[in-house]
Subunit: 245 residues, 4 copies
């Protein structure tokens, strides 16, 4: 990423079953995507919401990823889980709620895994870059920055996707900058237009939530694309990326 090669990361919000992950993996492979996401440990606003299937989810993802030749991106919430993540995951995601969890940032700064760092809900560009600096200061410079929407007054969308952050970040850093239009909008109908817009303003990649059956997803079904919509989106994206070259 960041070397002229636009990368898409796709997968469900939560890892649920092997069948689910296999259907997602097939959709990724069919569309030339090599990076699979899925949440095993889930940071949920309420302690009574589904919290993820944890280590079982990591193992399940690893099995499916190996079968399909994919790499895994998944969220780490606690440094005590690092050993198990280092065994099963390829890219460690630090979620928006932990962007200022500086101890965790220092810990992933000492691993050899690439880190996908999501922007905090109300983090300024400068705070976002300083969070990346916490990771880099530990020796790990394989950092991917991810814009995923910020919090504003408008309630039409789950968050306010700040696409201007893309060219602003690219002026200030050589790190790759990707965009998550799924969390950034919270509504599947907006993922395609905003994903295309992200590519048009210079993003190096996208993080897209996909679920074989969004209406039955255990979390965030409203913002997931089904396989057919994802395929359609990838075709439009492909045309756009060629035009932009």
């Amino acid at each position: 990423m960041g070397q002229g090669q636009f990368q898409v990361i796709g997968g469900p919000c939560s890892v649920e079953t092997e069948e689910q992950m296999r259907m997602v993996a097939q959709a990724l492979v069919d569309n030339g995507v090599r990076l699979m996401r899925g949440g095993a440990y889930k940071p949920r606003t309420s302690p009574y919401s589904f919290q993820g299937i944890e280590e079982d989810g990591l193992k399940l993802m690893r099995k499916v990823a190996d079968e399909f030749g994919l790499l895994i991106v998944t969220e780490l919430m606690d440094a005590r889980d690092l050993p198990v993540f280092e065994e099963y995951a390829d890219i460690l995601q630090i979620g928006t709620r932990n962007m200022m969890n500086y101890r965790l940032l220092k810990d992933v700064g000492r691993t050899s895994r690439p880190v996908l760092l999501k922007r905090g809900m109300s983090a300024t560009i400068q705070e976002f870059l300083l969070a990346a600096e916490y990771i880099a200061a530990g020796g790990n410079q394989k950092i991917i920055l991810c814009e995923r929407g910020i919090r504003t007054f408008d309630s039409e969308t789950r968050n306010m996707l700040d696409l201007t952050a893309v060219p602003v970040l690219k002026e200030k850093t050589h790190l790759p900058v990707i965009v998550d239009p799924s969390h950034g909008t919270g509504r599947s109908a907006l993922v395609s237009p905003m994903g295309l817009a992200a590519a048009a303003c210079g993003a190096d990649g996208l993080l897209i939530e996909i679920h074989p059956n969004p209406s039955e997803a255990l979390s965030d079904g409203d913002q997931a694309l089904d396989v057919a919509s994802f395929t359609q989106f990838m075709q439009k994206l492909c045309v756009l990326l060629q035009a932009l070259q």
Copy 2:
């Protein structure tokens, strides 16, 4: 606009001199643009900032527009100026500071001129649509909605361009939706990427600030494109629009 035909509106923040407007008009014509903007009456945050050359500006724009076969878009701040605007302007702009000036909205609802309505700095999508409704309720349905950035906590850019507003508005209304990446970012280097992104997510047009010599502009020079940058941008936009068809 709104009928499959992408429209660009270009011109300086403030009308300054005939030579300036002529250079802008030439750049527009050279790039196939038919709509020229320019501020004659300027709403400035400080009473001690340049306030525009007022009626002289309208006359000057009319003269240049007629010479080059262009239409004029310009901001109306007060209903008492309507007679002079109806004489010289083609499209009446209601600025972000007046989006909730309901008396002014009612007044332009009774004219026959199309109205370009800018979103208020902290207006929700619903408030924006209800402001348009004030105009439509008076009988004038020729309304163009313009996203121009909202106010958030980040100070990297002048405003936070909310591109997601484009597909959200298009779900809710048949009115054309355009984007102003000049005010929406406040920095000329960001106008091109964000203008392309606006087109990619479905905008019907763009409002672009152009100045023959941005560093000498009497207002908002930081966000104006010079003629060469504008030409370059229009070429990229053209390629993108063809790919998106």
Copy 3:
């Protein structure tokens, strides 16, 4: 105001009937309040909401105010109404939606009436002071600044009352600074605690919405105090103000 004398302005959101205004006026007089507010021309988000009874409302307020020896504070939305306001009103209110309606600010800068200027929904302190400067530049220095809540991400309250604005403004200007906890919270149960807090941090006065029967108010009933609650609040306020001396 601003000379050590704490002032309360009370009254309904909208002027509805003479009986309503008389009951309010009696409650004001009973509590030692001399300034009565009431909206005759109403800026409503939707064109289909109640828009006020306009000139009839001004006349009705004048009649009741004279009978009870009160002064009238009421919102002016359009400079074309100035003659009728100058006939019937004592203090001209510029509402939050018009804080950046610079032409209107210039117009009230040329009157002899004191102006109560409400802070815009997303106006910075500096923009608020520059709006006041538009009025002062016209020669009218009788300006009262009113904090009434700003727009943020939280939807628990209608607006986010920014009480820190009170000491910040008082560092920067000698103008009196009052607070409107009614609009600033949008809920009657919060008016009393936030009104007391405003007094505690140095406000020079309060603007309180009162309605004889809030559940039947034509606008903003949720945030109006009834007469008994207002009386109770005034007693607490009195105790607090004495303690703060």
Copy 4:
């Protein structure tokens, strides 16, 4: 706290030296305050800023606290530090950056120490209460909620103190609610007025930054009160609290 007894917590942003802490402790005792704060582990936006003196700071605070008969409130950033915090600290603070660090919340939910939970920079009231629920769900119901300012567009103050959160929270929970006007404003001149306002709208306590010599503080000196100002503030607060009874 929360039983009619207003509590003040005072102390420096960072624990620096024994002399510093002793001067602070003396000031607290002189003003009838029993709870001392001080940061030993510091969450700083930049990895290159002073990060605290860590375990040495906890020991130093304990020693001084015991000498003066005070209880210690200090921030825990990582569950791995719990054993050392349980040895030296009385009340565990969860900082604004970790309000959504759900693993940490679960961990402090299993301790017997009271937890002071600060509101996240852009947390809604509901998210704040759900974060407290993460702690309570673990069995620890000794939770103190702390409003410390949210992030908005205005840059006059470091944060925007949301005092309305106090009565809103008290409607929804029996947990004590305190206010931190030091972080909530970022400027020492605003601490006194906003601290008084917090008491006036029903807060159960305050968290006040005090430093014997603010201009030489290793962190956040701009918002710390010196001993004389703190004493003066406590006298005003005392008068106000008596009036409010």
